[in-house]
C-alpha cells in the first residue's frame, strides 16, 4: 500500500537506491522507493560481476556497515575469486561473477520483505521544495508524494541517450524510458549539470562461440564470502568459468577503416559527454594505443538461465553492421551470433562539488544524491553511496550527527571525499591507487574498521556485533600469547627452522618476533604452540605482526593527515578577502567550500602555496593556531 506521506523517498531502484531504501527502512523510517520499472530493480545493465580491485573491499565495507550488497552477492554468484592473491594483504580483493537473473531477484525479495518499505512504479519529474528544503516529489502524472527527505539515485536515466553509429535515441538501458525533466528542474534549483558518457559491449550467444580457441579462466578452488556473516552457499566445482581471447590484426583493421562511423569519432557530432578513462571503448583503445598489437577481451557468462555471454573490453558505438564484422574477426567468434549490440549512453549528472561530505546537497536541505547521478560508475561505487545517503538521511531525521568516513577509515570515505573535493570530469571509478592508506583499508579488516559504526547507527544487530567483539578479543589473546611464548635454541627447533629455509636461532626468541621473519607463517608457528583460532583471527594476527613496521608508518602518515583535517576552516570565510590567492585556487575554494585545511589541500588547482596563504589569513583573522 502506498501512503502519501513518507519519511524518506528514494528515487531509483538501482544498486544505490536499494541500499538507500534498505538503510532508511531498517532504521525504522517510513520509506518509499520509486522506480521506473519494478522489473529492473537491482538490475546489472553492464558487466556481470560484483567486486574487483578496490571495489571488492567496498563491498565488504558495505557489509560491515550493515548494507546488503555483500550478502546478496554471496547468494547470487556463479564464480568467485580473490584478486591479487600473490600480492600483499592490502591490495587483495574479491570479485564474483554474479548471475544477472538471481542477483536482482534476491535483492527484490529482500526489499519486498522489508518492513517500513513501499515500492512504487513511476517516473519522478520534479521536486517539491519550500524554503530550500525538500518536501516531496512530483511524478510524471503530476501526482505529489510528500516526504521529509529525498534521496536521488537516478543512475543513467536523467535525459539518457543511447547512441549507435549515427543514431541517437532518448532511452535508458533496456530501452527503458528516461526521466525527461528532472535534470532541467534540478538545474532551475541551481544545480550545475554535467553530461557524462559510458558504454557497454555486445552480448554473444554462448552456443555460437568456439571455446576451444579461448583460454579458460576458473574461479578459486577455495571458498570465499563477501559478507562477514554468511557461510559459502556455492560449491567450488559448480563454478562457471570465464574465457580469455585477444583482438586480431583484422579487428584493428576493421575498426581503423570504419572509425568515422563510430558515434564517438564523427558518427554523431553533438556528443558532449565525457567518457570514462578506465573503461574506454575498443575504438578509443586502438586510437590511443596505436602501437599495441592486441587487446585482451574476456567472455563472461551473464547467467545460468540464459545464453548471453558478455564480451568484456569490446564496448563500442559502431553501427550494427560494423559490429558484426568486428565480432567475427575475434578468435572463436567467427560464427558468433550477437544477441545484443554494443552501445554508448550519454546522461546527465550533477556536479558533485555541490554536495556535502554527507551526500546531502548544499543547495537543498534534506535532499541527498547517490550513485551515477554524482558522476561515479560501477555498481559498488553506487551501492556504498546509497548506503551512506540512506544512513545520513535517517540520521538527519533523527537529529543526529552525520556519518562521514575519513580517508583512513574506508574506501567509501576516499570515494566520497574525492567526489566532493575534486569533482569529476569523466565517470569516477574507485582504484586502489586513489587510497593513500590502503595498507589500513584492507578487505580482511573491514569489519574491524567499520562494524562498530554500523552497530552504533543501528544497522548491525546485537548478535553480529557480539561476533565482532569476540573476534577482537581473540585477536588480542593470540597476539599476547605469541608475545609471551618463547622458543629456545634447542636442537630440534633449529633443525625445524633449517628445514623450512629459515635461519637457526642463537638466543631465545618470542613467537611474536619469530613470525616477523618473512619466511615464517602462522602454520610454522603452530609447530611450537597449540593455537585454536578461526582462520580470520589467525590471518589478522599474522598480518598485524608481519607488516607491523609498515602499518606503523601508515599510521604516522594518517596522523599527519588528521592533523590537517582537524584544522577546520570557518564556514563564514570570505575567500575574496584573502590577498594573493591564485585566482584558480580562489574560485575552487569558493566552489568546494572545504571544511578543513586537509580537504583544501586535496582540491586540484589549489597549490601548497595557496594553502600557506590561507593559513596565514586564518591565523590573522581568526586567531588560528598554526602548529
Amino acid at each position: 500500500m502506498v501512503y502519501m506521506n513518507y519519511d524518506v523517498i528514494v528515487v531509483g531502484g538501482g544498486h544505490a537506491g536499494c541500499e538507500a531504501a534498505l538503510a532508511c527502512s531498517r532504521k525504522n523510517h517510513k520509506t518509499l522507493l520509486i522506480t521506473g520499472n519494478i522489473k529492473n530493480i537491482a538490475d546489472m545493465p553492464c558487466n556481470p560481476s560484483i567486486g574487483g580491485s578496490a571495489k571488492g573491499i567496498v563491498v565488504r565495507e558495505i557489509d560491515a556497515l550493515g548494507g546488503e550488497m555483500g550478502i546478496n552477492a554471496d547468494k547470487s554468484h556463479i564464480q568467485i575469486k580473490m584478486l591479487n592473491n600473490t600480492k600483499g594483504p592490502a591490495v587483495q580483493a574479491l570479485r564474483c561473477q554474479a548471475d544477472k537473473i538471481t542477483y536482482p531477484k534476491n535483492m527484490k525479495e529482500t526489499l519486498n520483505n522489508q518492513k517500513n518499505l513501499d515500492i512504487k512504479e513511476s517516473l519522478v519529474e520534479d521536486l517539491i521544495i519550500e524554503d530550500n528544503k525538500i518536501k516531496g516529489v512530483i511524478l510524471e502524472n503530476n501526482e505529489k508524494i510528500l516526504s521529509k527527505a529525498v534521496i536521488l539515485t537516478t543512475g543513467t536515466y536523467l535525459k539518457a541517450d543511447i547512441m549507435v553509429g549515427d543514431t541517437r535515441r532518448r532511452e535508458g538501458p533496456h530501452g527503458e524510458r528516461p526521466s525527461q525533466h528532472l535534470s532541467d528542474n534540478l538545474k532551475k534549483l541551481g544545480f550545475k549539470i554535467i553530461r557524462l558518457k559510458t558504454g557497454t559491449p555486445q552480448r554473444i550467444d554462448k552456443n555460437s562461440i568456439d571455446f576451444s580457441k579461448t583460454k579458460i579462466e576458473y574461479g578459486d578452488n577455495y571458498y570465499h564470502t563477501f559478507s562477514f556473516d554468511t557461510k559459502p552457499l556455492y560449491k567450488i566445482e559448480e563454478q562457471v568459468p570465464c574465457h580469455l581471447i585477444y583482438t586480431t590484426p583484422l579487428t584493428h583493421k576493421i575498426i581503423k577503416e570504419n572509425l568515422h562511423k563510430s558515434s564517438m569519432y564523427g558518427g554523431l557530432n553533438d556528443i558532449t559527454g565525457v567518457g570514462p578513462r578506465y573503461c574506454p571503448s575498443i575504438e578509443d583503445k586502438i586510437v590511443r594505443f596505436a602501437d599495441k598489437e592486441r587487446h585482451q577481451l574476456f567472455l563472461e557468462p551473464e547467467s545460468l538461465y540464459y545464453d548471453d555471454i558478455y564480451l568484456q573490453g569490446f564496448s563500442t558505438s559502431m553501427p550494427y553492421d560494423i559490429q558484426e564484422q568486428m565480432v567475427h574477426s575475434l578468435p572463436g567468434l567467427e560464427n558468433a551470433k550477437i544477441l545484443k549490440y554494443a552501445y554508448a549512453i550519454e546522461y546527465d549528472a550533477i556536479d558533485a562539488l555541490q554536495l556535502k561530505p554527507s551526500l546531502e546537497t548544499k543547495i537543498i536541505e534534506n535532499l541527498y544524491t547517490a550513485g551515477q547521478i554524482n558522476g561515479t560508475s560501477g555498481y559498488e561505487e553506487a551501492a556504498c553511496q546509497g548506503l551512506i545517503a540512506g544512513i545520513n538521511a535517517s540520521l538527519k531525521l533523527e537529529g543526529k550527527e552525520q556519518l562521514i568516513l575519513k580517508r583512513n577509515e574506508a574506501y567509501i570515505g576516499v570515494l566520497i571525499d574525492d567526489l566532493i573535493t575534486k569533482g569529476v570530469r569523466d565517470p569516477y571509478r574507485l582504484l586502489t591507487s586513489r587510497a593513500e592508506y590502503r595498507l589500513l583499508l584492507r578487505h580482511d579488516n573491514a569489519d574491524l574498521r567499520l562494524r562498530k559504526i554500523g552497530y552504533e547507527i543501528g544497522l548491525i544487530d546485537e548478535n553480529r556485533y557480539k561476533k565482532l567483539l569476540q573476534k577482537e578479543k581473540e585477536i588480542n589473546d593470540l597476539t599476547n600469547k605469541l608475545k609471551e611464548n618463547k622458543i629456545t635454541p634447542k636442537e630440534e627447533i633449529n633443525e625445524y627452522l633449517i628445514k623450512i629455509n629459515s635461519t637457526p636461532i642463537k638466543d631465545g626468541i618470542t613467537l611474536y618476533d619469530l613470525l616477523k621473519r618473512p619466511e615464517i607463517t602462522m602454520n610454522n608457528i603452530k609447530e611450537f604452540i597449540d593455537i585454536d583460532y578461526s582462520d580470520e583471527v589467525l590471518e589478522q594476527v599474522e598480518i598485524n605482526i608481519k607488516y607491523e613496521g609498515y602499518i606503523k608508518k601508515a599510521n604516522r602518515e594518517v596522523e599527519k593527515m588528521l592533523d590537517l583535517e582537524n584544522k577546520k576552516i570557518p564556514s563564514d570565510i570570505d575567500y575574496d578577502k584573502i590577498h594573493n590567492l591564485a585566482s584558480e585556487a580562489r574560485q575552487k575554494l569558493k566552489e568546494v567550500k572545504p571544511i578543513s585545511i586537509g580537504q583544501a589541500l586535496r582540491i586540484s588547482g589549489v597549490n601548497p602555496v595557496d594553502i600557506s596563504i590561507l593559513m596565514i589569513y586564518l591565523k590573522k583573522e581568526y586567531n588560528y593556531e598554526h602548529k
Partner: protein, 452 residues
C-alpha cells in the same frame, strides 16, 4: 589587496646610483604623487621614465623610474624602481617620501616572499634568491643563479618522473591484475631501478655537499705542536690572498680567524682558540677538546716539524683524523730530518713544506682543490642543492631506499615495498613544493591501455 612596500635595494653608501624598489597595487600611483615628468599612471608597462622626485615643489633628485605592471614582474605585483643619484641623504629622503605617501617599509626578504606567495617562483627559487643576496664568492653567486633558473627543480622533477613511472606500473598491476599484456613488475625488476635512483640521489648529495662548501666555505683548522709553523702558514695564506681578516662572528657559527679564496672557493680558517696567539692548541685545551674541533671541521691541516721526532700524541691525533678530509704538512724541510716518516701510516695527502721560502704552498692549494672536487664544480655543473632543508630531505630518501632494499631482500609483496617508494616520491615533491596524488592517477591512464 596587498599593501605597497618600499625599500632601498642597493647597498647604502658610495655607489654611483641607488635603486629604491616599490611593490604593490598602489606602487605606481604613489610614485606618481612624488614624480615630476610624465603621468606614470598612463605610461606603458616596462618603460623607463625620466623626471624628478619632488617634495611638494622642491626637487629632491633627478631620476629614472622603471614602471612594471603586474603580473609580469618579479613579485607579480605592480613594481616601480627608482634609480637615483646615490648618496645616503638623497636616497633616504626619497624613501621617506614614499613612506609618507602610503608605502610601508618592506621587511627583509619581503619582495622575495611576495614573489613566492604570488606563485612567481617556487620554494627552491625563493631559497636561491636569498642565497644570491648573501653570496660571498663568484661561484656561490653562479650557484644561486643556477638554482634560480630552475635547473635544480628540473633535476628533482626528472627524478620524480622516473619514480612515477615505477609507481604507475605497480599500481596498474594492482588495479588490473588480470591484464596479461601489461608487464608485471617484480621485486627483481625494482632493484636496478631503485639502484639507479639511489645513484642519482647520491650524486646530487655529493655535489650538494660541495655546493654547501661553495656557499659556506670550507671550515678549516690548522693544528700541530708548538713552533711547528702554524701561524706562519696562516699568515702566508692570508697575506698572499689579501683575505679579509675579521674578528667578528661570521656567517658560520664559528669564530673565523680569516677567510681566503682559493680559485673562487672560500676557505674559512677557524680560530682554534687563537692559534696565532697561543701557538699550541693541543697543549692549551687538551687532546679531547681538539677532537671536538676536529669533528666539526671540513678540513684538518695537521702540521709536523721535519726537525723533530714524531710523538705518540701526534700519532694518536693522526689516527683520529684518518677518516676525515685531512692534509699532513711536514714543515721545515730545510732543516735536518729527525722525523721517522715510516711512523705515518697514511701518506696519501702529505706535503713537504718550507713556509719561510714559500715551498709547498701551491701544492697545498692544489691538494685542497683536488680533495673537494673543486675542479668538478668548475665545469659549471650546478645540479645540486645548497640548502640544508633539501639536503636533509634527500638524506631521508636514501634511508627509505635502504628500506626498499631490505623489503626486496625479504621478498615482501611489491605493494609493501611501494609504500617506501611512494614516500620517496613525496619527499622529493616536498623539496620543490609540489606533492599531490592526482599526478599518479593521470600517469596511470596516459601510460597504459586499460579497460574493463
Amino acid at each position: 589587496m596587498n599593501d605597497t612596500i618600499a625599500a632601498i635595494s642597493t647597498s647604502l653608501g658610495v655607489g654611483a646610483i641607488s635603486i629604491i624598489r616599490v611593490s604593490g597595487d598602489e606602487s605606481i600611483k604613489i610614485v606618481n604623487n612624488i614624480f615630476k615628468g610624465k603621468n606614470l599612471n598612463f605610461v606603458d608597462s616596462h618603460t623607463i621614465n625620466y623626471g624628478y622626485i619632488v617634495d611638494n615643489d622642491k626637487i629632491i633628485d633627478e631620476v629614472l623610474v622603471s614602471i612594471m605592471r603586474a603580473p609580469k614582474t618579479f613579485t607579480k605585483e605592480n613594481v616601480v624602481e627608482i634609480n637615483c643619484h646615490g648618496g645616503i641623504a638623497t636616497t633616504k629622503k626619497i624613501l621617506e617620501l614614499l613612506l609618507l605617501n602610503g608605502c610601508r617599509l618592506a621587511e627583509p626578504g619581503e619582495f622575495t616572499k611576495r614573489a613566492f606567495l604570488n606563485g612567481r617562483i617556487d620554494l627552491l627559487e625563493a631559497e636561491a634568491i636569498s642565497d644570491l643576496i648573501n653570496a660571498k664568492s663568484d661561484k656561490s653567486r653562479n650557484l644561486a643563479i643556477n638554482q634560480l633558473s630552475g635547473n635544480t627543480s628540473n633535476m628533482i622533477k626528472n627524478l620524480r618522473q622516473k619514480i612515477l613511472e615505477i609507481l604507475a606500473n605497480i599500481e596498474v598491476n594492482i588495479d588490473y591484475p588480470e591484464y596479461e599484456d601489461i608487464e608485471v613488475i617484480t621485486n627483481e625488476m625494482i632493484l636496478p631501478k631503485t639502484k639507479e635512483i639511489e645513484t642519482d640521489i647520491k650524486n646530487i648529495l655529493e655535489k650538494s655537499e660541495n655546493g654547501q662548501i661553495i656557499k659556506e666555505g670550507i671550515k678549516t683548522i690548522i693544528i700541530g705542536k708548538p713552533n711547528v709553523g702554524k701561524s706562519s702558514l696562516l699568515n702566508n695564506l692570508l697575506e698572499e690572498d689579501k683575505a679579509i681578516v675579521t674578528d667578528i662572528a661570521g656567517t658560520t657559527r664559528d669564530i673565523v680567524e680569516g677567510q681566503i679564496l682559493i680559485d673562487g672557493i672560500l676557505l674559512n680558517l677557524i680560530d682554534t682558540a687563537g692559534i696565532r696567539k697561543t701557538n699550541d692548541i693541543v697543549e692549551q685545551i687538551g687532546v679531547k677538546k681538539s677532537y671536538d674541533l676536529i669533528n666539526q671541521a671540513n678540513l684538518i691541516i695537521y702540521m709536523l716539524n721535519n726537525n723533530e721526532e714524531i710523538t705518540d700524541e701526534d700519532i694518536e691525533i693522526l689516527e683520529q683524523i684518518k677518516n676525515k678530509n685531512h692534509i699532513i704538512i711536514i714543515n721545515k724541510i730545510d732543516l735536518e730530518n729527525k722525523l721517522s716518516i715510516e711512523k705515518i701510516t697514511n701518506k696519501e695527502h702529505l706535503i713537504y713544506m718550507n713556509i719561510t721560502n714559500n715551498i709547498g704552498i701551491d701544492k697545498l692549494k692544489e691538494e685542497i682543490k683536488k680533495m673537494f672536487n673543486l675542479d668538478l664544480i668548475e665545469q659549471d655543473d650546478y645540479n645540486f642543492l645548497t640548502n640544508s632543508r633539501s639536503i636533509s630531505l634527500l638524506k631521508e630518501c636514501l634511508k627509505l631506499i635502504q628500506n626498499v632494499y631490505s623489503g626486496i631482500e625479504n621478498n615482501l609483496p611489491i605493494d609493501m615495498i611501494e609504500i617506501d617508494i611512494k614516500k620517496i616520491w613525496n619527499l622529493l615533491g616536498e623539496i620543490i613544493g609540489e606533492t599531490y596524488q592526482d599526478e599518479l592517477i593521470n600517469q596511470l591512464f596516459s601510460q597504459f591501455c586499460l579497460g574493463k
